[in-house]
């Protein structure tokens, strides 16, 4: 099971800040999330970065990034500050 952190307004859209999901890859995990939380959440999800254990999947294998039990996956909408 991977722990999925729904950050910022993703938590509001899903109604929860954290879920546990069994998925072999990031792609599979995204599909499960879209099915579970609906279209509006799915739309927001398309703008989110996916971070696995602190590393962006862009630097890993994108949707094919494998997930292991205990992995922490964060869904991060665009942010800025300074």
């Amino acid at each position: 099971m991977a722990t999925v952190k729904l950050l910022s307004h993703m938590a509001t859209a899903a109604g929860t800040a954290e879920v546990e999901i069994e998925a072999a890859t990031v792609g599979r995990l995204i599909r499960i999330l879209e099915e579970r939380f609906g279209d509006e959440f799915g739309t927001l999800l398309k703008a989110c970065k996916v971070i696995v254990n602190g590393r962006s999947v862009v630097a890993l294998k994108l949707k094919r990034t494998p997930l292991r039990p205990g992995d922490e996956v964060s869904l991060l909408p665009p942010l800025a500050g300074g």
Partner: protein, 680 residues
């Protein structure tokens, strides 16, 4: 000699506190076109007016307040103004940028800026009421905090005041502008040495002249729409403030934790922007003409006070192991009252905690995660009492004194802001090369392109990072120079429709490659000069607004060139004052130790990026701007100094080091006589 260009009032105010003389200071339209305003123009004034080798804490140092052409025009987020001086933290250039009302009030009073020279014998209040300028006694205000000093002056009076920290020459003393701060680089200490307790600006009904008023209004309308429709400036910043960023920095391991030992904090949720919004937020606040309104007003002990922004949360939160938002709010408020920079206060406390953990500094209360005694320590820093006197010197000098200089997380003597750069290595290069020291904004804020923004690239690769840092530094310098808030740069990276860009799909990989490939394009453009980009990009409305305002075609190429001039001149100022390429560095923790042992790229490879950065900038191997570059930018006035720096060799360098040592001695002399008593 007034200005033929729109956007300028035509003159600056020049006040000498030693002699009491008040004069006009004239700037040529040529300099206005080359440097625009803000920090870039201030660097030119410092270059012209400040002799090399002046002690930052001496009457010879000058303070240069500048607005930008857009300040006070009603353009979105254009309430900004800048203060530059010689830094008591780094010995190089100090620059600090601020919102609030002061810049707008200066222009309404008929001034493009203010130069303060000399030092008063007694505490002084500089009162600017339109064209009337008076120096009044501030003896009754000396020893008071910034809230007491600014209270009761009315909404039509803009203020800039120091607290006890500035009076006591704390190296990271701030100047409070209402509730906003000229926070970084110890500008409050320079004001304190001048015995200038308070500046007030009111009066006048001057309107900023615009060359094409209709064109300017149309640009402003479109610009506002862009800011409101972008996910960061239209949604995140209004909803959560800059504090909303903490969620992202924690997830991407760029949140400095326990003195930058780690990049994420296990108890982040209770100090996040979301938590603040849900639990203590009363309302948003913002500068005049700002559609973003990132400021927070929070409830604290049944009062409504300013809420902390991201940097403060990071540095008074995870950086010292604190997970209590209530404590951050309290300490933020105390720092504002005493007039202390919250970033440097947090960075210095974090350093002290690690020194204490290693048994090098004896103080039972200083422990990561222990909030007890922090309020009292902030007071002792501001008053330079006991061990607070050591902490008032900042992290670098504190760690040197206690025998572990490697534990100070700083660049050039300025404490790093709240981003752990091993999670975004280009951001680390920005810290190392920022002219004012460890600053995220002066450094180019690459973390936005690496980890946080709508489109990002691999945060750990070194490819294209030098090129992107240069581009971002020049862009942000230009935006700052024109009087705009840096936040207006965020829409440069647009939110693309999902069918065009999926941040976890193949398009993300493609964009990452495009970013990395930009290194060839950016270098070519940089070599061609200001004429190479005669365009007005829709995502950067500054250029069209400036063109309508000034009556000149300030296209992208000229805009970026103005930023580059400012950056290069600040660099030359630093070199002239004795800083060397070895100062473009970071603590070994960040360059040598892996943040994540399983990721060999999780350290800041300055050894790879810095030589390339110099090359992209057309600086030589010692970081000195080339003659070709200076001619390209029309900075022939700096050729002589650059040549002297280039032929410099070790004896010269030794002389410059000796100069810095002498400056330091002068500072220490000033500090001995500076302590004032203040009530608990």
């Amino acid at each position: 000699m007034t200005s033929k260009l729109g956007g300028y009032m035509g003159k600056m105010l020049d006040v000498n506190l030693t002699t009491g003389k008040v004069e006009n200071y004239w700037i040529s339209d040529d300099d206005r076109q080359r440097f625009l305003g803000g920090k870039a123009l201030a660097a030119k004034i410092l270059w012209d007016e400040l002799p090399p080798g002046v002690c930052p804490l001496s009457p010879e140092n000058i303070m240069v307040f500048t607005t930008g052409p857009l300040t006070g025009t009603g353009a979105p987020c254009s309430a900004r103004f800048n203060l530059s001086t010689k830094s008591v933290a780094t010995g190089g250039i100090a620059s600090s940028n601020c919102g609030g009302d002061l810049g707008i009030r200066l222009k309404q009073a008929g001034w493009d800026g203010l130069i303060v020279r000399g030092a008063a014998k007694q505490p002084t209040h500089l009162e600017i009421d339109g064209a009337k300028v008076r120096l009044r006694s501030a003896r009754k205000l000396w020893g008071k905090n910034t809230e007491e000093v600014q209270a009761g002056l009315g909404r039509k009076v803009a203020t800039a005041a120091i607290g006890q920290a500035g009076e006591n020459l704390v190296r990271y003393a701030a100047i409070m502008v209402g509730e906003r701060a000229l926070g970084r680089t110890g500008v409050g200490a320079v004001m304190g040495q001048k015995k200038l307790k308070l500046i007030t600006v009111t009066g006048g009904d001057h309107k900023v002249p615009a060359s094409d008023e209709t064109g300017l209004r149309e640009s402003i309308r479109k610009w506002t729409a862009i800011l409101k429709s972008h996910p960061t400036t239209g949604e995140q910043l209004p909803k959560y403030g800059t504090a909303g960023l903490l969620t992202g920095t924690n997830a991407t391991k760029t949140l400095p934790t326990e003195n930058f030992r780690k990049g994420s904090f296990k108890s982040w949720e209770t100090i996040s922007g979301e938590y603040m919004t849900e639990n203590v937020l009363v309302k948003n606040s913002g500068c005049r003409a700002c559609p973003i309104r990132c400021g927070r007003v929070v409830e604290y002990q049944k009062r409504e006070i300013k809420g902390p922004e991201y940097e403060t949360l990071g540095m008074l939160g995870p950086a010292i192991g604190n997970s209590s938002l209530e404590h951050v709010i309290e300490w933020n408020y105390l720092c504002d009252l005493y007039g202390l920079d919250t970033i440097s206060t947090g960075g210095t406390l974090a350093c002290a905690m690690e020194l204490a953990e290693r048994g090098l500094l004896k103080d039972d209360g200083l422990r990561f995660g222990n909030p007890e005694g922090i309020s009292e320590m902030i007071r002792r820093i501001a008053l330079r009492e006991g061990i607070g006197n050591d902490l008032a010197e900042g992290a670098m000098r504190l760690a040197q004194k206690y025998g572990a200089p490697e534990l100070a997380m700083h660049a050039k003597g300025l404490e790093l802001a709240a981003y752990e750069p091993r999670g975004a290595v280009g951001h680390g290069l920005g810290y190392a090369t920022a002219n004012r020291g460890g600053c995220h904004l002066n450094g180019g804020y690459l973390v936005y392109l690496e980890a946080l923004g709508p489109i990002t690239m691999d945060p750990h690769t070194t490819k294209a990072k030098p090129e992107l840092v240069v581009m971002q530094q020049n862009l942000m310098e230009a935006i700052s120079a024109c009087g705009s808030c840096i936040f207006t740069s965020y829409p440069v990276i647009p939110q693309l429709a999902p069918r065009w860009y999926n941040p976890h799909g193949l398009t993300a990989a493609a964009v990452d490659k495009v970013f990395q490939g930009l290194r060839f394009v950016l270098v070519s453009q940089g070599r061609l000069g200001p004429g190479a980009l005669p365009i007005h990009p829709p995502f950067l409305p500054h250029t069209k607004a400036l063109s309508a305002l000034m009556g000149q075609n300030i296209h992208m190429g000229r805009f970026l060139a103005a930023g580059e001039r400012g950056f290069v001149l600040e660099r030359l100022f630093n070199l002239r004052e004795g800083l060397v390429s070895a100062d473009d560095s970071l603590p070994p923790r960040l360059t040598d130790e892996l943040q994540d042992p399983s990721n060999p790229d999780s350290r800041v490879r300055l050894d790879v990026m810095l030589p390339r950065y110099y090359k992209v900038r057309d600086w030589d191997a010692r970081g000195i701007p080339s003659e070709r570059l200076l001619r390209k930018l029309g900075m022939e006035f700096a050729l002589g100094m650059a040549t002297r720096l280039r032929v410099d060799n070790s004896p010269h360098r030794a002389r410059r080091m000796a100069l810095r040592a002498r400056e330091e001695e002068s500072v220490q002399e000033q500090l001995k006589g500076a302590r004032t008593a203040a009530p608990r």
